[in-house]
């Protein structure tokens, strides 16, 4: 196997091209993977942040961002279904935001009852009310440039209503291009002009001892005019809408696949050239009695070595770049396992790349060794 390593590093220029090809592919795959995972995560982040078991939405709502009002009686009827422990409301709508210096900006305004869940960004939720008024507005730190608040509390306007921005939060940055503002349900419904009895989403917690699916079925029978979904179902629906129906996810996924294919072509070309350059040596090896398996192993080892070195280089490059990209793309997210998992397709890519050249190395006629 020393021959495999020596062969590839002997021509350093070619080795560099191969390694760069692999690292480029790994970089692209990990970066696009981070975009895709971050996008999926952002598409259902607020749904996942709730402590609810069941979400009730207006019929046909595709995603959290497109909620439409449902009648207040729905909430009351749902509360009466056996197994429903608690209800809460969430609303979301686009609003016009104006800073004190007169700059106007569209925002996505979210309001929720305080019992929606500890992770849901609501000013009066348990554990987050210290020093804040019940109707305060929160914004994500990544939207600072759009919100343009220099000191807090800051007096601003939302849909021509006076409002107070009182705190920065993290992890709920905009992925629609407009910043989120979070406030209480009461405040948000007032800004949006939603009737006091209406809600966009009714969230339910199921009591212990009851099956979520049984309660869901019961609710569907009693409330046929709305959609009754478990939290996971609504989160999945929302992610599917943003990634597949809008084409955004498809574009990101396509870029990741293209990264793989470009890497495959680059690596195939260089591995193939490397093999053909050493074809006489493979003939010599076979003449000296090397079995085909050894020849195949050498070619495959060369490809995998290029893959390993290229992957490490690609990962060392992409990790700080993704970290840096968070300032521009706040929802980008690279889970710890993504770089590790992406080594697998890169090694697969190198193995595939070696197949064409292995065939040449295996079929080379050993008798050519006698030609001068």
């Amino acid at each position: 196997m020393k021959l495999a390593w020596q062969n590839i590093i002997h021509d350093r220029a070619r080795f560099s091209v191969t390694v760069l090809g692999v690292s480029f592919a790994v970089f692209l795959m990990v970066f696009q993977g981070s975009l895709l995972i971050g996008f999926l995560r952002a598409a259902s982040r607020l749904i996942d942040a709730s402590d609810s078991d069941i979400w009730i939405t207006a019929r046909g709502v595709q995603a959290f961002e497109f909620g439409t009002p449902i009648e207040g009686r729905v909430r009351e009827m749902a509360a009466g279904v056996p197994g429903v422990l608690e209800t809460s409301r969430v609303c979301m709508a686009f609003a016009v935001y104006r800073t004190t210096n007169g700059k106007q900006q569209d925002v996505a305004l979210d309001g929720a009852d305080r019992n929606v869940g500890k992770r849901f960004p609501v000013p009066n939720a348990l554990g987050s009310a210290e020093g804040m008024s019940p109707d305060a507005l929160l914004y994500d730190v990544s939207d600072r440039d759009l919100i343009q608040v220099t000191a807090m509390p800051a007096e601003v306007e939302v849909n021509r209503h006076r409002a107070s921005i009182e705190r920065q939060i993290e992890g709920y940055g905009a992925f629609l291009g407009v910043p989120f503002l979070f406030t209480s349900y009461r405040n948000a419904s007032r800004y949006m002009g939603v009737g006091p009895e209406e809600a966009m989403f009714v969230l339910l917690r199921v009591d212990k001892g009851y099956s979520t699916s049984d309660v869901q079925q019961n609710l569907r029978q009693r409330l046929p005019e709305v959609d009754v979904l478990t939290r996971d179902e609504f989160a999945r629906k929302s992610r599917t809408y943003w990634t597949i129906k809008t084409g955004a996810g498809g574009a990101i996924l396509t870029a990741a696949v293209l990264g793989f294919l470009i890497g495959l072509v680059v690596v195939s070309q260089t591995i193939y050239a490397n093999t053909m350059e050493n074809i006489e040596e493979y003939a010599t090896l076979k003449a000296l009695g090397a079995p085909k398996s050894l020849v195949a192993r050498i070619v495959l080892t060369q490809a995998l070595l290029c893959g390993a070195v290229g992957s490490v280089l690609g990962l060392f490059t992409v990790i700080p770049v993704v970290d840096h990209a968070k300032s521009l793309i706040p929802w980008i997210y690279m889970p710890w396992w993504l770089p590790a998992v992406m080594v697998l397709p890169s090694m697969t890519m190198c193995s595939l790349a070696s197949i064409a050249s292995v065939r040449n190395a295996l079929t080379v006629e050993p008798g050519r060794v006698f030609r001068a």
Binding site: H10, A287, L288, G367, F370, A372
Partner: protein, 281 residues
């Protein structure tokens, strides 16, 4: 040039070939052939047809042709030659006479259209490709005109790969390679790559690689063609010593007349047939 071993049983005439006909028939008849497991010599699981020891190395009634129909050209036509153990045989002849084809057959790199090839008493043309590979691995060392060293490996690694191919479990191969290179006066060149060595040094490394693992047969194709007079003579002497001191069987294909004084026997081929054979006493 002293030759401590002189051939005394060269198969020179058709009469002796006829005496081997019974053994050839054995090969042709599976029911009568002795199928021996030769685990010490071949890959596990491989069985070969083994015949009498007088067929140590050689070809019998071998014909090789290239092309088809009217374009068919015979490289060798009904050639029968046997090479005894512990001898150095020189094969000469003009270009196109079939020397390299003969060497390819003896090296299990080419199968005859007709006839038989024997390597260490095994009828190799009956073997599958894996069997021939195993024979080359265990029995035959090659020396080439163009050296054919692995350009990215140092001299010692080139020799070590010879040990590795013959015995992948050999853990002392670097030490053994160093010892072999020392024997050939290349102890101080162990870590140099082939392109840093002179042609004579490269050929000595190639010979060391061929000898790694101690194969009983050495096949050399124009081993001195790329060398100057002194380097060529060194190679001749090294191969002669392998016959005299280690009992190896060496077949050299060459145009170089210097080999005559080192060879036990000279065979001249012409137009794919044996034109002349002589013992060099």
């Amino acid at each position: 040039m002293p030759k401590s071993r002189l051939m005394n049983t060269v198969c020179e005439d058709s009469g002796e070939l006829a005496s081997n006909a019974v053994e050839v028939d054995l090969l042709k008849s599976p029911a009568n052939s002795r199928v021996l497991a030769v685990e010490d010599r071949l890959e596990p699981g491989l069985t070969v047809h083994e015949v009498a020891s007088s067929h140590f190395l050689g070809v019998e009634g071998a014909s090789v042709s290239f092309g088809k129909g009217s374009a068919r050209v015979f490289a060798l036509r009904d050639v029968s030659l046997m090479f005894e153990r512990g001898t150095l045989s020189l094969v000469m002849g003009p270009s196109g006479s079939g020397k390299t084809t003969l060497l390819s057959m003896l090296g299990c790199l080419l199968s005859p259209d007709e006839g038989s090839v024997f390597v260490d008493d095994v009828a190799v043309n009956q073997l599958a490709e894996t069997g021939k590979t195993a024979i080359r691995q265990k029995k035959i060392g090659f020396v080439f005109q163009a050296f054919r060293l692995f350009h990215s490996l140092s001299a010692i690694d080139n020799v070590a790969i010879g040990f590795e191919l013959r015995d992948p479990k050999q853990s002392q191969r670097l030490e053994m390679a160093r010892h072999l290179l020392n024997q050939f006066g290349l102890g101080d060149k162990c870590n140099q790559e082939p392109n840093e060595l002179s042609p004579g040094e490269r050929q000595r490394v190639a010979v060391a690689r061929a000898l790694a693992g101690n194969p009983p047969i050495l096949l050399a194709d124009e081993p001195t063609a790329s060398l100057d007079a002194q380097a060529g003579r060194n190679i001749c002497q090294i191969l002669r010593n392998q016959v005299d001191e280690h009992g190896k069987t060496v077949v050299v294909v060459s145009h170089d007349p210097r080999w005559r004084e080192f060879a036990d026997r000279t065979i001249t081929l012409c137009d794919g047939q044996v034109e002349h054979q002589e013992k060099n006493l």
